[in-house]
Each structure stands twice: as C-alpha cells, then as structure tokens.
Subunit: 150 residues, 2 copies
DNA sequence: GGAGACGACGAATTAAATTCGGTTTATCGA
DNA sequence: TCGATAAACCGAATTTAATTCGTCGTCTCC
C-alpha cells in the first residue's frame, strides 16, 4: 500500500463509479496498471465493496435516533442473544458494544416520531435482556461523511 | 417512485458498481429503460452518489469512538462556532446535535488509543465552547450496515 | 374515442473494461 | 557494483458495457 494506492482509494471513496480511464488520468498511470491496482485492493479486502448512497428523507427515513441500551447482567449469554436478535432489525443501521456507562449504542432510522415510538415499544424494548434504554433524537446533522480520512 | 425504483435502489445499495445490463436483468427491464430510471434517481437526488467502502483496519483506523460533547451556553453563536470548526476535522466521521442530556454526539475514527488521547486533548477539547466530553470506546461492532431499508 | 405524454423496447453507435505480450523499473543477493 | 528475478507498467487489440435514437405500446384526460 503506497501513495498511489491511497490516492486511488481517495478517488474511489469520493466517486465509486468513476471510470477506470478517468481514474487512471487522475493518478497519472495507464488504465491497465490502474485496473490492476484496484483489483488488488478489492481482493485484499481494503475495498469492501461499492454502494449507492441514498437520501434518507426521500425514502421516508427522515428521523435519526441514537439509543443507549443497558442489558440485564443475569446471564452470560444475554449479550449473545441481544446481538443476534438486533442484527435482523432493518431500522437498526448500526449497533456497537461500548465501554463507559452503558452496554450498547444503537443507531436507527425511522420515518417520524410516531414510527419511533412504535419501534421502541414494539421492537427494541422487547429484545432479549433489555433492561433500560435512553433515546437521543438527532435534531441536526452537523457532519455525516462516510469517507475515511486516507 | 414505484416498486421498480425501490428494487433498483436495493441493488445499487448492495453493489454500486453493478453494470446496467446486470441490473436490468435483475429488475426485468431493458437496459435502456433501466438506465433512464437510474439517471432520474440520480438527478432527483434520491441517489446522492456512489462510494467505495473501505476496511478501517487496513487503513490504520482501527479504533472507533463516540464522544458526547456539552457546550458552554454563554453565547448564542457558540453552537455555530463549534459546528463550523468540527466539520473540518478529518477524524470526525459524523457529528449530530441531539436532544436529551447533552449537546452533540461525535463519531470519530483513529489508529489506536494513543492517537485518541492525542486527538481528544489536542483537538476536540480545544474546539470553541467545549465544556465537557464523555468518551465511549467501541469494543465490538455488532452491526454496521450503511444500507437503508427500502 | 382520440390526442398527448410517458415509458419501454431494440438496434446502432460510442465508450469503457479487460486481456496480453513485451518492456521498464525496482529489489536483493552475490 | 553487478546481474538475476520479480513486480509493475505500458500500448494495442479485443470484449463488453453505456448511451443514443427512432419507434411502438399504454395510460390518462379530455
């Protein structure tokens, strides 16, 4: 992984559908050599994949919330049960086990507050082991940039 | 926006570099008609763009942290000043103003705990208006799926 | 029932991805 | 320092995909 690779990654993060020819021009390499590097980055796992980024508003997911979740510590496999159940919930975009005060931090997207009340009561608090939740409603997205700083 | 569009969005979220021909086969439409729909989704802003998803570990960003930030409420434009300063920090991938207990929730990626200590002391706590921070270190990624549930 | 608009289709054209043989460049040991 | 080896790069040829365009069918609204 050298500077040219990092430059490739920067461009591919900014525009995942840049043509190989345009990319090769940007990094001052032939199309063949550029393609070879990109394939290697894909096969080595540095590039996990490509995706379209959608506007949440236009697909009826205008409300973003973070939920702190604390579990009952009654059983050692309660974490396992909670994790497994959570993975299948479509509204949950991210979930992390964290150190420092509570157990899990959950990021979820729903249509509106009504949908969230429903989600919280009918789905989240009914997951195995959930003792307590605390909701943080996002009022403003100050920054939401999925690109990694290479 | 009909079912065909939603189907297109699902495939493009899963693989942003799927060829138009393959996509057209998946949705049972001609390549020309498929391309026309994708272009419309792009121009209308439903599709914001395309990106390569990278593996944070392999690019030396193995530590993920969330930081709760509380600001001094001394001046009305302190929020503005904080927001503006924060946007330019590369380690910060996301930042939200939230309701419920504190002011901002910041998501940041760094190499390791040493880098984080440095980031916290030298950068984050020196931003305008920062009164208090609380760090949550991510121990495990239970789910991290950037696809929206269409 | 008819006019207009929209969406879809298929063929033709343009452009890009991919392959391959040969050449240069970098690395490493003698 | 020199030579051997491997890795990376290049340009041309080929395969494949994107894009354009003329036409047809279908839906909507008079």
């Amino acid at each position: 992984m050298d500077d040219i690779d990092r430059r490739i990654l920067r461009f591919l993060q900014k525009d995942g559908r840049i043509t190989n020819i345009d990319l090769s021009r940007q990094i001052h390499l032939s199309p063949a050599a550029t393609l070879e590097r990109v394939k290697k980055l894909e096969q080595s796992g540095v590039i996990r994949g490509y995706m379209a980024r959608l506007d949440p508003e236009t697909v009826n997911l205008g409300l973003l919330v973070f939920i702190q979740v604390t579990l009952d510590r009654t059983s050692p496999d309660i974490f396992e049960a909670f994790s497994k159940a959570l993975k299948t919930i479509p509204q949950v975009s991210e979930c992390y086990m964290v150190a420092g005060g509570f157990d899990y931090l959950v990021k979820a997207r729903v249509k509106d507050m009504t949908a969230y009340r429903n989600f919280l009561g009918k789905t989240l608090t009914r997951l195995p082991g959930v003792r307590q939740t605390h909701t943080y409603t996002v009022m403003e997205e100050v920054k939401a940039d999925p690109e990694l700083p290479i």
